[in-house]
Amino acid sequence: MSVLLPDGETPIIRVRGLENRFGDQIVHQDLDLDVRRGEIIGVVGGSGTGKSVLMRSIIGLQTPSAGSIEVLGENMVGRPEDEAKNIRRRWGILFQNGALFSTLTVAENVQVPIREYFPFIREPLLGEIAGYKIAMSGLPENAGAKYPSELSGGMRKRAGLARALALDPELLFLDEPTAGLDPIGAQAFDQLILGLQKRLDLTVFLITHDLDSLYAICDRVAVLADHKVIAVDTIDRLLQLEHPWIQEYFNGPRGRAAAA
């Protein structure tokens, strides 16, 4: 089956022939992927299949050995820094542990991208923008003035999400957003992402191991195995494929529990 979108549709992310290798170790080879505008796409794969490397390649933190990557219709490979910057402000990224700047408060963290790209926006508007972004991410009122070290893991992720949303991105990258959260917190985070995606018209690229998240919020799921994306589809249709890893992943005890 094809992992690509039909010809008439323009994808928001288009990856063709991606190859990543570190020395002798091949992570990706001839990897193709299309992400549809407005969808939540989940990316799954065993440990070491290069989910994070794929995300890092797409957002330009990792230069691929070969292949082309287009995000929002712009080529991203080998782009000079000043041009890449204009594309970067159209996406937001939530790193696995939040990657908040530890010397800044949560509100200041959210303001960093705004200050960088729109230096003419000053207080008090800057503070107000940070305030409603923090509220939208579901953090309590007093969180803005706190430092990241004073927050719990779940709150840190929400603060990271608030920073990712700072510039009203079209595209949101989430690297294992529910890892390390308790089930209630994880579910709340899923619903938060689903709600934000609907309200703000986002496209979400979600790396996860959380089967519940996949069932709850993903429109399609991309499966990484054998150095490439072997299938992209809804979970129902993925279940009909014969690939052993897919079968084991979704039909194992945990997979069935999540589906129930």
Binding site: S102, A107, F118, E128, G144
Partner: protein, 361 residues
């Protein structure tokens, strides 16, 4: 149906067109401020809006009671989202700095650090005793490794530093003593000051910068990665495993390094005397042996292990204080170096008084 006709001229209309996004936030804000009340906002011309644009509209409606018209369902939806996330000014800012409170916090912090250092000192002594009573728990490998890192690898830099200091002391001393025709006393100056004071002190400062900081950074990083907690749960005492080997190595290596430093400084001074003052090396060595009393050497060698102990104590203590975030590693490493150099200089002054009063002048 009767309708109240409001003449358009009484109402000010703000009608942006095109994109109402963060990119135009500055000009939109200015235009909104310039528009007088009562204000009507007409959004029929807006084709793109983001949350920042919606926030500006929402704020104007909230604060100035402006009315809205021509908004599409999408825009209304976005305005609703923004209104939902509006919490007034509750987000708050960090409190202002109050100098008196700062001073108080600083004093309490200082007292707490000192108390913590004393507590740590006690824990280290207990560790020493338990290692002496259970010699099997002593970690020879870790100690030998620390010997290498703290001692052997420092020989080059300490030797070079001391050699240069010897030359400078000789040269500066000679300039002053020549005024009295007493340049041969340069040898006394070089010999006594390097053996008694500069050797141990400069070595301590170099070891604090090289190894004290490394102790703090290594242990601090292990704290952050929860290695120290893991050790505790397994039943390994972090004091015995991490602190004692470093401390023993520093205590043993410091006098050796200090002696090496004295030698290099004397050689540097000798080189200057040979070239600058034309005192042949043989005479120089003979004079050094005559003018430097054995007690000077003892003073230097007694001080050195104490300095080593203080450096290791401050470094390991600050490393153990690291918690939560990686920024602390840097802060505590700096604190370790500052604290150990400060304490070394204080103890050195105490030693100077002590040795003078027992007659080792």
């Amino acid at each position: 149906m009767a309708s109240v006709a409001v003449p358009e001229t009484d109402v000010h209309v703000f009608a942006p067109s095109g994109a109402l996004t963060i990119g135009r936030a500055g000009s939109t804000q200015r235009e909104l401020q310039a528009a007088a009340d009562p204000l009507t906002i007409d959004l029929s011309g807006v084709d793109r809006i983001d949350t920042v644009g919606a926030w500006l509209i929402h704020r104007t409606i909230r604060d100035r009671g402006a009315s809205l018209r021509g908004a599409s369902p999408d825009v209304l939806n976005l305005l609703e989202q923004v209104a939902e996330a509006d919490r007034g000014d509750a987000v708050g800012k960090p409190a202002r700095i109050n100098p008196v409170a700062e001073l108080g916090t600083w004093a309490i912090e200082f007292a707490r650090t000192f108390k913590g250092l004393l507590g740590f000192f006690g824990a280290v002594l207990i560790g020493f005793v338990s290692v002496i009573t259970h010699p099997r728990r002593f970690r020879y490998n870790a100690v030998v490794r620390s010997f290498d890192v703290v001692g052997v690898r420092a020989l080059g830099i300490i030797g070079l530093m001391s050699f240069l200091i010897g030359i400078v002391v000789g040269q500066q001393g000679a300039v002053q003593l020549q005024q009295f025709g007493a340049e041969s006393f340069t040898i006394n100056l070089i010999g006594r000051i390097t053996v008694r004071e500069l050797g141990p002190l400069m070595t301590a400062i170099m070891v604090a910068g090289r190894s004290g900081s490394a102790f703090a950074a290594q242990i601090g990083t292990m704290k952050i990665t929860e290695e120290v907690d893991a050790m505790r749960t397994i039943g390994v005492s972090p004091i015995e495993a991490l602190v004692l080997p470093r401390m023993i190595a520093a205590i043993i290596v410091m006098p050796l390094l200090a002696f090496w430093s004295m030698l290099c400084a004397i050689i540097g001074g000798g080189l200057f005397c040979w070239i600058g003052l034309e005192i042949p090396p043989v005479t120089y060595i003979q004079r050094i042996a005559e003018v430097v009393p054995a007690t000077d050497l003892w003073v230097g060698l007694i001080k050195a292990p104490v300095f080593g102990f203080i450096i290791a104590l401050a470094g390991c203590f600050q490393g153990m204080l690291v918690a939560n975030d990686s920024e602390q590693v840097g802060l505590k490493t700096t604190a370790a170096v500052v604290q150990s150099i400060f304490l070394v200089i204080v103890i050195n002054a105490v030693f100077a008084v002590f040795f003078a009063s027992i007659g080792w002048i």
